[in-house]
Amino acid sequence: MTPTDLARDLASRWPREVHERVDARRPLVEVTCPPARLVDVCRYLFVDRAFSFAGLVVEEAGDTFELRYLFHGSRGEPWAHVVVIVPANDPRVPTIVQPVHAADWHEREAEDLFGVIFDGHPRLGDFVLHDDAWQEGVAPMRHRFDARASVVERRPNTDWRPHRVVETPGAFVMPIGPVFAGQAESAHFDLETVGEDVIRALPRLFYKYRGIEKIAEGQPVDRVLLLAERFAATTAFAHGWAYSRAIEQIAGAVVPARAEALRVFIAELERFRHHVGAIHAICESTALVVAASQTAMLEEDLLRVSGALTGHRYLFGLVVPGGLTIDIADDACRAALARCEVVLRALNDVERLLQFSSSFLDRLEEVGIIAEADAREAGLVGPMARASGIARDLRKVLPYAGYDRMTFVVPTEREGDGYARLRVLFAEARQSVALMAQLATLPSGPHAVHVSPRAGAAVGVVEAPRGATFHWVRLEADGRVSRYRVVSPSFVNWLGFHLAVERFAFQDFPIILSTLDLSVAETDR
């Protein structure tokens, strides 16, 4: 389906009410509609046409807010941006969480940071900015708010109480975090319980909110690249790449073939290393000591491979708009691949042993189940969605950097439990090494081109190790970033946490958490 077809389709459904603009190059249909029609249009795209929801971008333009709901179709289908414009002094739009549950946290964030009211949303407030630390009405993402000055006047809500839904007599909230017993990322969980088993778990995140979208504003492109790489460093390369792709799209730059191939090689190396780390975390949460040690060593092996290949264990300072900062010799790549294959063989051994460790399987099977329908409505991405039967992978759906010319499969499982997620991680790790092997002979040519930024906006898309990531960038004519919006896979997948954690034994909590593989840094930004 071409963008023109989609535009015509929408125009025929809501004549004179919605206005379409077609950009055949991207390809993209930009649909401007009145707030009253927003829910209908979004429902049509998300439910009837099975488009995926990529995120909500709020931009302040003069005395209006422009709300841009990003949808993308499957392979061969265009993007659809549904745009609603509301006055900044009375920003109210209807919520779309009823058809598009995936928009839940986007709307809550926009309400907290911009002050946009989403009529009909059941839970607004106390999200990014904690109500027991900040007063209502602070809208840090507004242009008038100074990002570099600390907020001196603080009137926190001293009556703050945890949100509770369990109404059984004697129920209480067991608070966990933000400082944990191990070396976990800072987050807070309220486990509602009457003792023994947990009836419901509610996360309270954004303890690590660093406001990168705000502090990026007004910064030059290369400065924002540092933020893109460093806000979630365990998958730094994928995020840096997504940001670079957005800039390249705005500038209309064509990245050389060698640079694209090297990017794929390194991205798959990062995915492999991340998945080994995630497998290690699962083994560790089930207290399977030997497996945890073995996988920990494999992860460190891959960190060293990354360090030896690129200079940095977490692949910092490598990707730039236009290519890579350094060229990597072919034989260095082949040496890295050889070491990765050794690691993969060891990983396969571990997998085989795990399949016969019944005490390990008992703790993963039928734990933290996410049903496919729920996963679809919540718009989950990455290995978590694929373990619930949703074979959505941006490398296939919106192919980039030559992924469409490479052979690989998207492993899926149906059960949606902890063990399914573990199996997906193992299978994807194998696919990543297979992809690296297909790049044994790299195309020759330059490793970067110069990119000169110009005014415009684009969304950069990459399938990060944890799932689809979308970086929306708007550049001013002087090459400075005026709006930067990051939709990270963990931010999306935390909705899956709500689906997975109801009624479980207390000791299963760390196991469920480890199989979900959610990064707090990636969510909090």
């Binding site: 969480v97 009823q98 549950h101 839940d104 009909g120 059941p122 839970r123 904690h130 027991d132 630390a133 703050w160 109480r161 945890p162 509770r164 839904v165 369990v166 109404e167 059984t168 007599p169 004697g170 129920a171 209480f172 909230v173 067991m174 608070p175 966990i176 975090g177 933000p178 400082v179 944990f180 807070h188 309220d190 509602e192 319980t193 009457v194 003792g195 023994e196 009836i199 419901r200 409505e377 919540a378 709500h498 109801e502 009624r503």
Partner: protein, 713 residues
Amino acid sequence: MSAFGALLTAFVAVCGAGVVLALVLPSRHAARVVAWAGAIAAVVLVVMGATILVGAPAATRLWTLAPVGPLLVGHDALSGVFVLVTGLVLLPASIFTASSLPPLAARYSVRTYAVLFFALTVAIVWILIAADAFSFLVTWELMSVLSYLLVVFEDEVEAHRRAAYLMLAMSEAGFLAVLAGFVLLSAGTGSLAFDAMRGTSNLGAGVRATIFFLTFFGFGVKAGLVPVNVWLPRAYAAAPSAFVPVLAGITLSLGLYGIFRVNADLLPVSSIALGLLALVIGTLSALVGILYATPENDVKVVLAHSSIENAGIITAAMGAGFVFTASARPMLAAVAFLVALYHLVNHSFYKTLLFVGAGVIADRAGTRDLDWLGGLIRRMPWTAAAMLAGVLSIAGLPPFNGFVSEWLTLQTMLRAAELSSTGVKIIFALCGAGLALTAALAVTCFAKVFAMGFLGMTRSSEAEAASEPRASALAPMAMLAALCLLCGVLPTYVIGAIDRAVQPIVHASAAEALVPPFFVGQPGHDALPAAFAAEFHDLGANVGQGVAPGPGLVILHRGGTENPVVFAASPTDLAVMLALLLFVLFVIVRYGVARHRATVRRVCWDGGIRRLLPEMTYTATGFSNPVRVIFQAVYRPTSVEDTRETVARHFRTAIRRPGETVHVLDRLVLRPVRAVMFGIAGQLARIHHGRLNAYMAYALLLLLVLFGVFASL
């Protein structure tokens, strides 16, 4: 007139004066009248009990009622023990009314309460000194009805009326059983006097068993034994704070007094099987009581269930005594009966203390629900200290009284090893295990009561406003806590006193077995083997010789010659050692450690959240949930499925976990019985159709039957 007569007259006079004053003085003074007159009456009772205990038994004819014969008042050491305990419990309970009655004055007549209260007091004492079946039964019935009226005193609440009505109905059923038992007993002797009943051996085994069943379960209703105790938790929860201490501390003991008086004194149990029945019923009562006490959150209901538990322990010990009596082991029987009575005394003290505390909590903190309490120790430290004493006592921890009697109970159970029958030994072993489990659960249960009530954060705003009660509530608690401590630290004295009551019944002295003359200079000390005395010297046998005269401060059970020492302990020594250790620890910390390092107080580590809120701490329900899960087979919760309410499909607004448990006895006993009763009533209702001629026919039919019966006589 004897000293006993004078004291009895004085007691009745004080009670009468109390009634008159309550009626004459303005009603705002009524509560104070109850407190003062009750306290004076209680002091008279204490003196009377002590007099009876040391004096010789006697019976006096009060006056002769033509058709039934002489009405007798009498006393022996057994009545003495009970009168003494009644006095000791009544004293604090009366004082407590000064602060627990005024809150009721707005809605109910305190004068009425006063009249009922004094009448009940007289009835209770009369039960204890009645020496013939007729006065015993009349005062018993009087006590039952007056208890009912006092339980239903706050009668504006529907639940109170229902609970009290159930209590009355079951008490009456129990009374009828007891009546039938006494009819059989007196039919065998032809006299209503207790003295005449004693030593009747001409009854057949079947009649004896029938009498045992009738009196055991008949009195068991008041004592709270399974399966006839379904009224008890409901009635205790319904009764006013002022009255529950009397209900738990005195009337429960009356039921046990009845069982003991009939089945140990008047007609000693001669069948091992009946003794075992008492043992098993006692153990089951203890288990059921504590199993339902532990998950309960209403302090009063926890205590009510725990009364069942304690009555069970006492009955189990008594049952052991019956078995030993029937097996012709008088020494062991004496020990078992003594232990039963010891525990009964202890239970009266600590349960009264805890119920007074529960009343104080309900009054000062606005709720009795442990889920909404917490942190009261900072607001009412003296109440907390007294309650801690009560909780330690009831949980059976030294140096308090519960430890001594529970330890002795378990030791007595182990004495079944001396019996010959293997089957009996197995039953004893199982019951011993059941009682041990009960003791363990009791610790859990009362750790919860104290921790959830007094420690941690306060979970409701009412409880945050709590403050220390008036002296009229603190003084009774202090008094009772002191009694609990005394009975725990000086058990050899209590054993000596109770032994006076047991000795004439089983014709063996338990004190002789349990408290050997260890102090130098005591009569019989020189007869002790020297090595034997030296060995237990270290156990604290000679500690406190100068302070506490008497045979010694060691409990020691002496078996036969081949097994001279079966068990031994010195709670006195234990208490002294505990105090010493605490003192040494204090000195070390204060002058050793703290001198070099500054003491820094930090708030509780909460994982770094901004503010730890009361709803983020464990509730009582959460604390006892493991017990609920482990014993699910007993509780049989009706529903475990959660119900969820959502808006917009994914947003949970409420998750409810409905679930109620029906008490195992309600399920197995009350409901079937009620169903049968309603069935019979339904059948009988058919002849109630309102036709006059039919009713006249019924009357005629009845007359004909009666004529037939009388004609045949």
